[in-house]
């Protein structure tokens, strides 16, 4: 599903963001990318979304080398990948259902399909009663659920979540994690970037630890030395 083959990325000024990353994520896996701020988690996700291009090495998604995807085809690539950004990124002037509808319309779906699918997803994420609310009127957990619903609305094969529990209380974090686990159980590959070890402990899944742009461990559950 996802492969990083000797991927390095340098920002201007010789700032190394990622160094020689080699990773394989199989279809249907749930993977935590764990590391402190600046370890390269978000950069890794940006490479998968083709927001950034690797300085060297290859990033493959479903057998496609992303560096070979022409600029005009990038939107089509992104429609196959659901993304929950760190800042949630809901469109502030659109209501909850309009946020979901926009993602569908942008992907070329018809109004009829929008009317059919949006209520389904809102129901699935327990948001139907908030369909007419603007994002500013929602709690942090609700906003995060809307962002997840939006990421899933086009049935992506891969879901990327960048610190989805970053600013949530433990109870809501657990709820969000449960939702992501459910999504994974239904067959969607999930990659979640986080710096939050207690959250990772809640779900015994594959954990890839990053530090200063390098993979320092790759294990199921937290490794012994990561209890700090």
């Amino acid at each position: 599903m996802v492969e990083f083959q000797g991927v390095s990325l340098e920002y201007p000024g010789n700032v190394v963001a990622l160094h020689e990353i080699n990773l394989t994520i199989r279809q249907g896996e749930f993977v935590f990318l764990l590391g402190p701020t600046g370890s390269g988690k978000s950069t890794l996700l940006k490479l998968l979304l083709r927001e950034l291009k690797a300085t060297s090495g290859r990033v493959m998604v479903q057998g496609r080398d992303l560096s070979m995807v022409p600029e005009k085809s990038v939107p089509f690539l992104r429609r196959q990948i659901g993304f929950v950004p760190q800042d949630i990124g809901l469109l502030p002037n659109k209501k909850v259902w309009e946020n979901l509808a926009y993602a569908m319309r942008a992907a070329g779906h018809t109004k009829y399909e929008v009317r059919k699918r949006v209520p389904e997803f809102l129901e699935r994420l327990n948001l139907l009663h908030r369909a007419g609310a603007f994002p500013r009127a929602l709690s942090g957990g609700e906003q995060q659920r809307v962002a997840i619903a939006r990421a899933l609305i086009n049935n992506p094969v891969l879901l990327l979540a960048d610190e989805p529990t970053g600013h949530l209380d433990p109870e809501t974090s657990r709820e969000i994690l449960q939702i992501l686990d459910d999504i994974n159980t239904r067959g969607t590959t999930v990659v979640m970037a986080t710096h939050d070890m207690p959250v990772v402990r809640l779900l015994p899944r594959r954990v890839i630890r990053l530090e200063r742009g390098e993979v320092v461990s790759d294990s199921v559950g937290l490794p012994e030395d990561a209890n700090a």
Binding site: L49, R50, E51, L52, K72, V74, P75, F76, L77, R78, R79, F83, P85, D87, G89, L90, L91, P92, N93, Y102, A103, R105, A106, A107, G108, T110, K111, R150, A151, N154
Partner: protein
């Protein structure tokens, strides 16, 4: 296809609604720019028509003192025919002139007194002889100085100067007003783009193509330009109709042709839409080109 169009159009209308006063300013400035453009264009065409009407003939229209009887008029016409260079003399009866005006503008003449004098139209063979004939006719006792002599040659000269003025000053005015309107539409869309950077970034991340993001902005500029064009078109229509009546009532010279009517409104609206889309396109291209 229609479904897609509806989506893009609804996004554009939503954006205009959100921009509020800025959009109103863009519409108004475009309207003013197009009104100046349309007005100058209309004046230019009117002058050209008048010049075409005047042709290449050299003519004087001499007013005859009020109360002069037919014998007097004949005597004055005979006198004109004796002058050097005079080819033809025709009597222009005041009642005939008034009847034509009343037919065309019945409102103007209701209850009014005929303001026209009896006139003689004198055709002259050469431009060099016009001043001599004019001087002789001015000395005639039946000549009415208050109503004067209309000199087609002089009118032609004035119209040519006016054409030149309209051409140069008009071009400058049009450039300035178009640039102002264009800049305002550019700024409106640019501000909208900048204030919605985060939104646009999110749109890109959910898989919206450049086209899906760009078209609502283009339509926003196009709609603002078109509204400006419509305003300008209707204002020009009203203004020319009013001016036409005014000029006819007071000087009895028709300055322009017909009022621009629906053709003018549609043309200005189309021009406004094109201007708006062009400026919005320039504004959004700069930003979308820079983001991944």
């Amino acid at each position: 296809m229609l479904d897609r169009l509806e989506f893009v159009l609804s996004e554009a209308i939503e954006a205009i609604r959100r921009n509020g006063l800025m959009a109103v300013a863009a519409v108004n400035t475009t309207a003013i720019a197009l009104l100046v453009f349309g007005g100058l264009g209309y004046a230019y065409l009117g002058i050209q028509n008048r010049l075409a009407d005047l042709g290449t003939q050299f003519t004087l229209i001499v007013s005859i003192r009020d109360g002069t009887n037919m014998n007097g008029i004949h005597e004055m016409a005979e006198h004109a025919r004796t002058l050097e260079g005079v080819k033809r003399v025709v009597h222009l009866p005041k009642e005939e002139h008034w009847r034509k005006v009343l037919e065309k503008y019945p409102d103007i003449g209701r209850g009014a007194k005929n303001p026209f004098p009896e006139q003689l139209l004198i055709e002259i063979t050469s431009a060099d002889l016009v001043d001599g004939v004019r001087a002789e006719m001015e000395k005639h006792p039946l000549y009415w100085p208050e109503k004067g002599i209309q000199d087609a040659n002089r009118e032609r000269f004035l119209l040519r100067r006016l054409t030149s003025f309209v051409h140069y000053v008009g071009t400058l005015l049009i450039l300035v007003t178009f640039m102002t309107a264009g800049t305002l539409i550019y700024n409106t869309v640019h501000l909208a783009v900048m204030s919605r950077r985060q939104e646009i970034h999110t749109m890109r991340l959910v898989g919206a193509s450049h086209g899906t993001i760009r078209w609502p902005f283009l339509l926003e500029g196009g709609i603002e330009g078109m509204l400006g064009g419509l305003l300008a078109g209707f204002a020009l229509w009203g203004l020319t109709a009013w001016l036409s009546r005014l000029v006819t009532a007071y000087s009895l010279i028709k300055v322009g042709g017909e009022t621009p009517g629906w053709t003018g409104v549609v043309l200005l609206a189309a021009l406004g839409a094109a201007l708006g889309m062009l400026c919005a396109g320039l504004s959004v291209r700069k930003y979308l080109g820079a983001i991944k």
